[in-house]
Amino acid sequence: MILPMASGDDVRVMVLAGGLSYERDVSLRSGRRVMDALKAVGVHAEMRDADVSLLPALQEDPPDAVIIALHGATGEDGSLRGVLDLCGIPYVGCDARASRLAWDKPSAKSMLREAGIPTPDWVALPHDRFSELGAVAVLDRIVDRLGLPLMVKPAQGGSGLGAAVVRDETDLPPAMVGCFAYDSTALVEKFVPGKDVAVSIVDLGHGPEALPIVEIVPRDGVYDYAARYTAGLTTWHTPARLDAETAARVSETALAAHKALGLRDLSRVDLIVADDGSPQVLGINVSPGMTETSLLPLAVQAAGLDLGKILATLVSRAMARA
């Protein structure tokens, strides 16, 4: 992979991090990592929270580009990208529409399925439907249709927050309540056993390319919030322990998902590789985590690339779009 040069030392980048989502802490860590990586390659970067001081600051002293390291709704539901479009400030990553679609897991899954990209069977239900139709009846139908085990997760959100694997029918009601504490709509998905993998995708000017696949092996079997962000609780294998043919299929599937959702610059596609070697897409992140234990930086390192240079290149591309 050839990296085009970044566009000089006088480029000023604003890294947006923090926000009011449940992933504020993760976002602050991602933001600092992005800032350090940019500074290491000589790009001037400052970090800001997305609060009431943001728009006046953008107006008074607009940066050359923005990198959105906000996780959760503000960073990923497309709305902030829409505001940046209004302000005429270029940003790294996909546009507002694509972001909104990728952020909402049921919408993203529908688009993937329409594009012929495999994703586990699912049903998405707002909590009102349970109260109107009777929770027991609805849950029974879900179990009849999708079988056990199931994966329950908020329709919107990341970092494994509010997600639970349900192996026994009696665990389904508490899992639903736990999920609805995070979001008003739950995604109940058929649980596919297999290898958890993540494919980071970057487009440095020659079309989207897949970085080495990262395989995720949580020590306690569950890739929950603690397993994601406590160093030592998860082993990441990069490249993933897959045969060449399977690995190629996983990367192709991830690239197809990136394209099907109309994404741009960078993304991370999370997949499960079933025991028969077939990959299925679980989710797509338009603002991938950049912390010490996040998957995209691991993939960048495994590819022998430099995160700062990649980000600087993406900044140049964003500026060129303006």
Binding site: P173, V177, G232
Partner: protein
């Protein structure tokens, strides 16, 4: 490339750090620090009420006029001047005749608890503590690889019969209980106070069982309704280790606390403290000494009492007006906290994300138990926020609870089954000290 855990030290860690992980709840507290959120989760005193200009001038002079001493190393036990002032402070609480020789200055009350744990606890020893108890002490006991056995309380504090039962249970199991860790006055987190009558009984029970008492008294001066009961240490000289701090009466940022210890162990405490921190901050000690000597600190404490009483009234009034049926809470007569018990089936930890979305924060009860219980409780702080903010916080919290109750009703009793979640330490469910 083989696998990486991003932590090359996994095989080297001491046993005592096992189970220390980041947590979802800690992630949620990160949002609670934003001004949009009404935080009832912190434990911060209302520092803005201090005469900050005068304090600032005093601190400046400490550097410019006394820097040769205040910026130098000091002795491990703490300065004589401060220890004399500390004895005067304790006399106001009813602990008379304490000698400055028996006082060890520490880096906040937290180091005092840590020193006592190092002094007395071997791995596997048992500590008795109120249930719920101070999260910082639970962390110390965990680091000492001790087991915490919680003793229940009611509106009058620790229940003596339950204490006797706990002592007997531990003895039957062949384990050794070393001390009772107690916050008898305006307890954190429960807000209750051990009654006069029970103080004598608790001391008698501990004496009979050969159990030491660690009395943690950070809030005793913050009484809203007359004077607080006499500390346990004012009633017994032997077997009681008295711990207190200037964090609530002056400034937590200075990190100055102390232990009043029986003479025999004072020297060991000093040597351990030297091994631990060398000496407490000379600058912070000088600041506290100056504050106690030259500034109207008693009036300041009175003013805190009035501010906090008004805030407690605002919080209790709002709880009375807004909380859903089935909720109960304590009525503290001093200190910083109210302990609420939720309606049947509600889980304060599971409800946290909903609360954060509604821009209100509390500490789930699980942050105050070493054994993972406390899901049906929450701690609410009233010292930091204005009465208006407290009322708004309770309004938001009541809405969150109503939604959660509705959700539980939809999914039935089965929804309240324990959810298979990772259980970390109590500290994983409580905020860091910086959250106001």
């Amino acid at each position: 490339m083989t696998g990486t855990t991003q932590d090359d030290y996994t095989d080297v860690y001491a046993r005592r750090v096992r189970g220390m992980t980041t947590s979802e709840i800690r992630a949620l507290f990160a949002v609670a620090s934003r001004p949009e959120v009404v935080s009832l989760a912190g434990g911060s005193p209302y520092i803005a009420a201090l005469p900050l200009d005068a304090v600032g001038e005093m601190l400046g002079r400490l550097g410019s006029e006394h820097g040769a001493v205040s910026l130098q190393y000091g002795i491990g036990q703490g300065t004589v001047e401060l220890r004399e002032r500390i004895c005067e402070v304790m006399a106001l609480s009813g602990i008379n005749g304490a000698s400055p020789d028996d006082v060890v200055v520490t880096v906040g009350g937290q180091q005092a608890i840590d020193l006592l744990a190092r002094l007395f606890l071997d791995p596997g020893d048992v500590v008795l503590a109120e249930g719920p108890s101070y999260v910082g002490a639970l962390g110390v006991f965990q680091a000492a690889q001790a087991q915490v056995h919680h003793v229940p309380m009611d509106e009058d504090g620790l229940i003596p019969e339950a204490l006797e039962e706990a002592i007997a249970t531990i003895a039957r199991s062949g384990r050794r209980a070393k001390f009772l860790y107690t916050i008898p006055t305006f307890q954190n987190p429960a807000g209750v106070t051990l009654s006069e009558e029970r103080r004598e009984r608790v001391l008698d029970i501990c004496e009979r069982a050969g159990l030491l008492v660690v009395e943690d008294d950070p809030y005793g001066m913050l009484s809203f309704e007359g004077d607080a009961p006499l500390p346990l240490r004012a009633r017994r000289r032997e077997g009681v280790f008295y711990v207190s701090t200037f964090s609530k009466t002056f400034a937590p940022g200075l990190r100055v606390g102390w232990i009043l210890a029986p003479h025999a162990v004072r020297e060991k405490l000093v040597m351990m403290s030297e091994a631990n921190v060398l000496c407490p901050s000379a600058f912070a000690q000088a600041a506290v000494t100056q504050y106690l000597t030259n500034m109207p600190w008693r009036e300041q404490v009175k003013s805190y009492r009035e501010i906090y009483r008004e805030r407690r009234d605002a919080l209790l009034g709002a709880l009375h007006d807004r909380m859903p049926a089935g909720t109960s809470w304590t009525h503290p007569t001093g200190g910083l906290f109210v302990w609420a018990t939720l309606p049947e089936g509600l889980d304060s930890k599971a409800m946290m994300p909903r609360a954060i979305a509604a821009r209100v924060a509390y500490v789930p009860g699980t942050g105050f138990y070493a054994d993972g219980t406390g899901t049906g409780n929450m701690r609410l702080n009233f010292s930091f926020s204005s009465p208006e903010r407290l009322r708004e916080g309770v309004r938001r919290l009541a809405g969150v609870m109503e939604q959660e109750l509705a959700m539980r009703a939809v999914f039935g009793a089965a929804a309240s089954q324990p959810h298979h979640r990772r259980r970390g330490t109590a500290a994983a469910d409580a905020p860091g000290p910086d959250l106001a």
